[in-house]
């Protein structure tokens, strides 16, 4: 009789539509795990890049702009190009991967990395979510996949803090309904939403909703009383004793704080101090939390800044303005210099000049990995 049970389960799985493997996200997650293992075992890092290009093309589920299903072929090389290359917007043109360009209709406010592609936050009316003087408005969102195909989500949130993680296919935000607050996770692959109730939040000051930051399985939710950790997978909610409220983004499980006489990087879960800087100055983590820009230029050294490897505490110095450098999803620095993209290795500090980007003199430029909104 057990054969009948097995037969039913086989019939069930035979009828399943199996989605294509998220190869790029798997590699990204694998690389993080491997780095973590190396951190504890001292094994020397290995090159990964050549591997991904060696794979066969992957059929993935994707959608056109109207949300209608279609099939497209996104090879591992295309997905790797998305992870390792500059992502930026000049005016309404988005550049990503190996010079793929996509035109977006509305004003672009910020670029958010997910494992499924780039999520562009826009505003139809020119909007205020970038802090301009035009008053509150509701931002829209468009997913641009590594191959340049798009999916429009329209307006999802009010003008409020949203968060993504380059290793996860989700956009997270807090939703307020009367007295009830939930964390919402939008799966940008399918458009499905998950809601996790978060009790005990009452006062988030002048913001439309509590502030959130997504890092792995955890959404950190902040209000004026403190910070809560929400495990979106299990629904567990617990207080976080380490993060200040309101706090900056948590990237790769790490956060930064600027104190009276120093700036620090610490582990968001344990509070362990990972790196401290001698003077209080802005610190910006890479999307995966491995590297950090230290903007000491604020205090007397204009025109240069340092980039630290958080694990080893070694650093490289960079010429230019701290705030003019973005991060690729995998932790390379990049900027636009004299109309051309320049990409730099965060460890060695070596930079190479890439393709030309027209229109930077008279159009608004947005760099991936940068925060432009409150």
């Amino acid at each position: 009789m057990s054969e009948r049970l097995a037969e039913l389960m086989r019939a069930e799985t035979d009828a399943l539509h199996i989605p294509a493997p998220p190869a790029a996200a798997t590699y990204a997650q694998g690389r993080r795990l491997r780095r973590r293992k190396q951190l504890t075992t001292g094994v020397v890092a290995a090159a990964l890049v050549a591997v991904i290009g060696a794979g066969t093309a992957v059929a993935v589920q994707s959608y056109d702009g109207a949300g209608k299903d279609r099939r497209s072929e996104i090879g591992p090389a295309t997905q790797t190009a998305y992870l390792e290359n500059p992502v930026l917007a000049v005016g309404n043109t988005v550049y990503l991967g190996d010079q793929t360009t996509v035109e977006v209709e509305d004003d672009i406010h910020s670029l958010l990395y997910t494992s499924a592609g780039l999520l562009v936050r826009t505003n139809k009316d020119g909007g205020a979510s970038d802090g301009s003087e035009f008053g509150p408005s509701s931002p829209g969102y468009t997913l641009i996949r590594p191959d340049g195909s798009t999916k429009d989500f329209g307006v999802l949130t009010e003008d409020q803090r949203v968060s993504s993680d380059p290793t996860q296919p989700y956009l997270a935000w807090a939703e307020v309904n009367g007295e009830d607050v939930s964390v919402v996770l939008l799966d940008v692959r399918s458009g499905d939403e998950k809601r996790v109730p978060v009790p005990g939040l009452h006062d988030w000051g002048d913001w439309n909703a509590p502030l959130v930051s997504l890092s792995g399985d955890v959404v950190y939710v902040s209000n004026n009383d403190g910070v809560l950790e929400v495990d979106w997978r299990t629904g567990d909610v617990s207080p976080n004793e380490h993060l200040d409220s309101p706090f900056s983004e948590v990237n790769g499980g790490r956060y930064t704080t600027m104190e009276a006489e120093r700036s620090v990087i610490a582990d968001a879960t344990t509070g362990e101090l990972l790196l401290q800087f001698p003077a209080a100055a802005p610190v910006g983590l890479s999307p995966d939390g491995r590297f950090a820009k230290y903007g000491h230029a604020t205090f007397g050294r204009p025109g240069s800044f340092d980039v630290y490897d958080v694990r080893s505490a070694t650093h490289s110095s960079f010429e230019g303005d701290y705030s003019n450098y973005g991060w690729t999803p995998d932790g390379h620095l990049f900027t636009v210099d004299q109309g051309k993209v320049k990409i730099c290795d965060a460890v060695s500090g070596e930079c190479t000049t890439g393709y030309e980007v027209p229109g930077t003199e008279h159009s608004k430029v947005r760099l991936g990995g940068m925060t432009y909104e409150a």
Binding site: A11, T13, P22, R31, L33
Partner: protein, 171 residues
């Protein structure tokens, strides 16, 4: 002579192993997004240990073991219950439930996660009691009792012809 797998092999391995792992994960978890997360996490963990795998032929079993261990660790987390505390919208674009056959996945969803996993490992993956216990990090006695409890419920839901009666565990 078998050679250790190299980095290029992993790319092919991901694509080759994904469907099979996904099917098992879906039966264990009953939800596409969770199944995808589980398999992705398991393959990422496999990648992190890739250099320590002696030969390519051993990789599928290793990845499977990682997936079972990962699922077991999820089940041990506080708050992971039969009904997940998150509310999900209906999934789109995947399988279609056929009205003319028993909906085994719907029935499995009514079991607690560990019972569901035991049923899948024993009767879909065809693991022995000892192997299922090793995969889930529990005792053989736990596997036996979970299996008995699960089958009792399945018999209620699907009928005696579907769920086997285990000797020594009448219900």
């Amino acid at each position: 002579m078998p050679r250790p797998p190299n980095e290029a092999d992993f790319s092919e391995f991901v694509h080759a192993s994904w469907p099979s792992l996904y099917r098992t994960a879906y039966l264990m978890l009953g939800e596409h997004a969770l199944a995808e997360d589980l398999v992705q996490t398991s393959l990422a963990k496999t990648y992190a240990s890739w250099r320590h795998i002696r030969e390519l032929a051993a990789a599928p079993a290793y990845a499977r073991k990682v997936m079972f261990n990962t699922a077991a660790s999820w089940f041990r987390q506080r708050g992971w219950r039969n009904e997940l505390p998150t509310l999900s919208l209906p999934e789109r674009g995947y399988d279609v439930e056929h009205a003319d056959r028993p909906t085994i996945i719907g029935t499995l969803r009514q079991l607690p996660p560990r019972q569901r996993a035991v049923v899948v490992l024993r009767y879909y993956e065809d693991l022995s009691v000892a192997d299922a216990a090793a995969a889930l990090g529990c005792t053989e006695g736990t596997v036996k009792s979970q299996t008995a409890d699960a089958l009792a419920k399945l018999r209620t839901l699907l009928g005696d012809a579907v769920a086997p009666i285990i000797e020594g565990h009448p219900s």
